[in-house]
Amino acid sequence: MDANLEEIRAEIRAWLAENWRPERSLVEWRNLLVDAGWAAPDWPADYYGRDLPPSAVAVVNEELAAAGAIGAAKAGVRNLAAATLLEHGTDAQKRRYLRGVLTGEEAWCQLFSEPGSGSDLAGATTRAVRQGNQWVINGQKVWNTSAHHADFGLLLARTDWDQPKHKGLTYFVIDMRQPGVEVRQLRQMNGHASFNEVFMTDAVVHPEDMVGKEGGGWQVAMTTLAHERSGFARSRESVEDGGRPGRIYDEYREEVAVANEPYVWYPQRAGRVDLVIERAKQTGAIDDSVIRQDIARLLALHQSAQWYARRTAEARKAGRTTGAEGSVSKLAASHVARLASDVHTAITGIEAMLTGPESPLDGVIAEILVSVPAVSIAGGTDEIQRNIVSERLLDMPKEPRFDTGPFRDVKRN
């Protein structure tokens, strides 16, 4: 083990012994974490971090878990907001928004997709028009996860209709708590309602909330998407607090129940590889040599994807990536989820016909089966990832284009 990592381990351990108190409020505790740089050790030292490599983050997380201590707020689009602002935000934007991301006091959503443009994200038609000292927004977004809980949205809007499609977009942070923003929940095939339609009618954005340059929204959106895609590789196990007593745990459970509610099925959509062996033992499927092969195939694929993601995280830190590696991780996540869903089906057999409390694991298995189809669509479909991998990592010919002129004249839905 790296000596440096062991020093970090000793340091966080000592700091936790000094500071971790379950009687504190969640926000008070997380502010302490932020001030000490432990909330996001891999962030720049200028913005609440410690400039440490991803391997150190794993060590810090291990120590937090060992102490039973709660880490920075993690779930949701807040990670994407942070990554995007760290790369493209002004100093003022970073100071205004990053702390709230880490403490969990402010929630975020991503306002990219529209009814007429999903894969073809650059075809967005939501308008942003500069009027006096503000931007006025009109248009509709759709499938926006967690928008019903969000304080802020990452908004991609068209500011110039005479430029080719990619050049007329601008990226904003929009305040979701204003009269011009209306959010309606949409029910999904798995019964949950985590994504929404968002209608913006003369909604207002202040000029200091433009991220990047006017007309430069596409580049900023690419950063958000690259992080979203590589995020699919991170395993999302359910949060375990062991039902511990204490104010901070109560508040944390509340956060998980409310703010993270849209994400309760996310571990299931990733396929719950963690459940496979246990389930196979319970049902006796573990003695079936065909199912054993599938299980081993799944474990190998899942493990390889995790290791790939860790290697690319290191490479990204060292500036040795092209930005398209997240697409590899996203495709891998789709393969893992589908294979896991097949393996769970094989293990479960006829019981897979049921749902709800009478079905295996209180409905968790059924939820896996009806949630996995999201992985290959959300965050850019598998087909789009294959375009990206082939064009950016393999330098293969681009798709023929029919949409290169001024956006005004491009065929749309």
Binding site: M1, D2, P54, S55, I277, A280, K281, I286, S289, R292, Q293, I295, A296, R297, L299, A300, L301, Q303, S304, A305, W307, Y308, R310, R311, A313, E314, A315, A318, R320, V328, L331, A332, H335, E383, Q385, R386, N387, I388, V389, S390, E391, L393, L394, D395, M396, P397, K398, E399, P400
Partner: protein, 368 residues
Amino acid sequence: MDFSFSHEQEQFRDSLARFLRDKSPTSAVRKLMATDRGYDPAVWRQLCDDLGVAGLHLPEDVGGSGYGPVELGIALEEQGRALLCAPYLASAVMAGYAVLLGGTEAQRAELLPGIAGGTTIATLAVTESEGLWRAGDVRLAATASGDGFRLNGRKRFVVDGQNADLLVVAGRTGKGVSLFAVDAAAEGVSRRAVPPMDPTRKLAEIVFDDAPSRLLGAEGEAPLEAILDAVLVAFAHEMIGGAQALLDSAVAYAKLRVQFGRPIGSFQAIKHRCADLLVQVELAKAAVYQAAQLLADGEDATVAASQAKAVAAEAYMHAARECIQFHGGIGFTWENDTHLWFKRAKSSEVFLGAPREHRERMLQAMGV
């Protein structure tokens, strides 16, 4: 745990890759694969003397360079990419690891310098009938005689068996399976080259008829599993190197070949499959590199080693199939180079255990 290669490691990779581009173009591979010996002794000497690769993973006090599985892996990845014809896997990797892990200190001091320097060509003969080593498959009988042992039995699929000076042989005594060192030229050893499907890797069948041998290490305690793990990890690197070469070739051709007025690589039916292949190759690399790192850190690597073998073998085979498919008719010709890698991929798939067997070995090592 390290997740990236150091600058020094990358430099080593570059210099080896340069050497191999120069010495092992497919024209050279084709020439060598048609010979009985199957490798060029002059290139082998340069590889060992100038680049010091045969002893990379062996300790310095036995003539090695004291690096580990990660550096050895780099050497094999590049060899696999270039489809180098050399007794490297047999001698440096298989026999080298067998003596390193199975020999006494005195035996290591005696046998490893020749292997590390490439002056001794050695090989390891465990397999009799099955790809994946199992102690039960070792039936070759060893009986004590004087201060040595006499061997009786037959070993098959011995890589570079006809080229070797030194044979490390797994045999059975009343105490179980042990390793024995046999002088390949000794009386009672008869070697027969068998025709390999992959002509770039020579195979022999060796019959031992009361052949004299020396016990390596302790009787009945051949560390077959540990040797297998180390060999698998190295071998899997060779496979991902080959898989990468095939991916590169498939993509290059797809950009070049024009049909219907556009490069075939602009059709999604082709480019999406290239993307899928890249994903598979990259994930296999991640698994293989990780297994090497675990070995280097001295951790139990059985799960990772079998996983690496399984995913690398499948990625290699898939890359070979796709590369031929994207080439169309020319891909099925002898003249096109793809079949050279295809054959290496196919024989690598089953050598030392097929993916299916390694998936099972992996689960059992996990206690499942």
